[in-house]
Amino acid sequence: MPEFLEFGKHTTYVVSSFSLTMMVLVINVVTARLRLAARIKRTRQRLALEENS
């Protein structure tokens, strides 16, 4: 374990709590952005279809 991640006898608990939190925060951002991007893409495709028909 690198020295900057040493928190005495509680290292495992502290590091796992912070890692889990950061992981969930990142997943939330990624899923929200992917969802919006997919929705924009689908809407654009539909608008293009409507224009062509």
């Binding site: 928190f7 608990y13 502290v14 709590s17 939190t21 899923t31 929200a32 919006l36 924009i40």
Partner: protein, 245 residues
């Protein structure tokens, strides 16, 4: 005031405002969370009783606070949607649910990790922990109900009712540590006049809390934009908004 409120309730206006505000809240969240993590892990002094184990507070308390804050916001949005039939309000309520569920999960998980070295167990059926678990099930119930009903209007109404009824759990969670004899410690930062933490420790907790708040706003705006696009797909402004992007 009412004109502003009505204007904000209009999907095209909301979409524009959300597009402008999201990066500001996103960057503010990043800066505050990075500062909060650094301060919480390396600057805040070690607790004389819990040693470095207390540092889990910097992720546990903001997650728990947000889990309640988001639920109240979700219920308010759902109530506004139900009473005034504002579709945007239902979209915001729907956007809140997954974020609130993830913060509730984090509050439970980090609390459990903290409990092991301090209480000697991962979990106890304590009033605070149990009511927080009920909150997680309320979020799941809200999302499952929305997913189970095909008709959007019916899904909005049914989930709004569940969200409003579930609000009763919020004061139960908040005051469980005062009403019952629990293993969980009393509130740390709700009584700012007389905080139970040293100011050198408290400052980083407040920074982390501010970061989580900004994070929530940025993510809920992104999710709400996707919801709004789905709901308003047949309207002219969608074309303009996407072309202007």
């Amino acid at each position: 005031m009412w004109t502003w409120f009505h204007k904000l309730g209009s999907p095209p206006h909301f979409y524009r405002i959300a597009t402008r505000l999201t990066p500001w809240f996103g960057w503010a969240a990043l800066l505050l969370i990075v500062a909060g993590v650094y301060g919480g892990l390396y600057v805040a002094p070690t607790d004389y009783q819990q040693l470095d184990g207390f540092r889990i507070i910097y992720v546990h308390v903001p997650s728990a606070s947000l889990s309640l804050f988001i639920y109240v916001n979700m219920a308010l949005a759902a109530a506004a949607g139900l009473i005034w039939r504002i579709k945007l309000a239902h979209a915001i309520a729907a956007a809140c649910a997954p974020i609130g569920a993830s913060f509730t999960f984090l509050a439970l998980a980090t609390g459990s990790i903290w409990a092991k070295p301090m209480w000697g167990t991962w979990w106890v059926w304590d009033a605070r922990l149990t009511s927080e678990l009920v909150l997680l099930f309320l979020y799941f119930g809200f999302m499952a109900l929305r997913a189970a009903i095909d008709d959007e209007n019916r899904a909005d109404r049914a989930s709004a009712l569940l969200a409003i009824i579930g609000v009763i759990n919020v004061p139960i969670i908040k005051y469980s540590v005062d009403w019952w004899n629990t293993l969980h410690q009393p509130a740390t930062i709700s009584k700012l006049g007389k905080p139970s933490m040293d100011s050198d420790m408290l400052i980083w907790l407040l920074i982390m809390l501010a970061g989580f708040m900004c994070y929530f706003v940025a993510v809920v705006l992104t999710r709400a934009k996707a919801e709004v696009l789905q709901r308003a797909r047949d309207q002219k402004w969608v074309r303009q908004a996407l072309e202007g992007k």
